[in-house]
């Protein structure tokens, strides 16, 4: 079975690096981009299985990217990886079509289950988001 293909959209270099390290063993990272517009382009050109999206991205927010990508590629899985732990962000992310929502500080515990859930057609909500 082929490894799932992932695009990482994250503007902070050290978070990019952490994601790269954590994903490399099980996923093919086909692009790493640092802004929202490049994320849309990478999704269009690479057709990844999963688009990992930060919310606060330059030029186009992650939420706006998700809306656009889900409109054109409804089957593409989108998992948000963000520092925003407020419910409003998670709510808006799922409204925009997210399949998963992970809070960065809980990445080690939550990244793998969120990606598995997304690939299995399920949704993953971070327990770290205030309820």
């Amino acid at each position: 079975m082929s490894r799932p293909r992932v695009v990482i959209a994250e503007d902070h270099p050290s978070t990019q690096e952490v994601l790269r390290q954590m994903l490399t063993p099980g996923y093919d990272i086909v692009a790493v981009v640092g802004d929202g517009e490049s994320a849309v382009q990478a999704a269009e050109s690479q057709h990844p299985d999963i688009l990992l999206l930060d919310i606060s991205l330059p030029f186009l927010s992650g939420i706006a990217v998700a809306r656009k990508v889900k409109k054109d590629f409804p089957a593409m899985r989108i998992v948000f990886v963000t520092a925003h732990a407020e419910r409003a962000y998670q709510r808006e992310a799922f409204r925009a079509g997210a399949n998963g929502y992970v809070v960065k500080r809980a990445l080690v515990a939550e990244l793998a289950p969120s990606l598995e859930a997304a690939l299995n057609g399920q949704t993953y909500r971070s327990p770290s988001v205030a309820n």
Binding site: I63, H84, R87, K104, R105, V108
Partner: protein, 363 residues
Amino acid sequence: MEDHREGADKPSRLQKRMIELEAHLGQLQDSDRQFRVLIDTVRDYALIPFDTNNCITGWNAGAERILSYQRDEILGKPASVLFTPEDIANGNMQLELDTARRTGRAEDERWHVRKDGSRFWSKGVLTRIDDESGNVVGYGKVLRDLTERNAHTRSSLLTLHENEGRRIARELHDDLVQRLAVLQINLARIGRDLPPAAAHVGSELLRLEKQTGMLSNDVRRLSHQLHPSVLDDLGLCAALETAVEEFRCEQNQEFIFLCEGVPENIPPNIATTIYRIAEEALRNIAKHASGPGSLSVIRDGRALRLTISDAGPGFDVPAVFKSGLGIPSMKERAQLVDGLFSVTSSAGGSTTVDVRIPLRGDC
């Protein structure tokens, strides 16, 4: 008998002089009349003479416009009616008169009081008036209402403050919080991958990870207080809903939230104003009220209306307006975007804060 002397029908030198003097007097009278008309009709400045007993002896159109008294009802009244009770009690009014008497003039910037009791910020000068022998016969006060200019300055300062808060909040969130998250992730990864022989290090790593998480939460809280990023990222309704959710969580209290018809493109200063007023009202409720409440923001024609209610116990509104900073600052924020602010409360009963802010342009 006819007078055939040369120049008999011409005016004598005396008559000529008389005619010249009459013309000059006429010019002077015209000039004096023009000057009086100017003083009486100038509307940007209040020109108010007092006598040595500090009783008002004159009142121009500017004074009428700025202070609202009609000429007939103010002439003869003491000048103290124009000063705030605080300035009278603190001796500031007397100091102004003493300075003018001693040095000839006294400049000031202070609050003055209109007929209806409302206050305005003014810049003025009080000038001593002497007769030809140098005796003091009265004083002349010239003042200008700077409320509008002041409001503009305060509005600019507030915008500057909010923009700076937004910039620092972004820096904190987009850089420091990200770096702390990476630190926390790396600590968790090291802890996860520890060989069994190093298990004793695990608890120390866990402690460090938790401390990093707490530090990260503190920075996020600070960033949120400086400027809630949710307001810029997701809009006013999401930001208010988040504030209400946090309130419910912290106070363990029922609180209804409603957001209806709010346009997405409302100007940032209006969104920030509504958010800050709601935030202050929720803070007041957390401190002073109990029981269920509600917060709604709805579009009402060409305006946005924010209403926050609690179940009480209420308070004496005029007393709180005078002594508290919170409610006057909410009112000022609303006024800076041409909004109307009201608060109704009854002792032991409920309290409602109502704000109506006009929308302009394409909103």
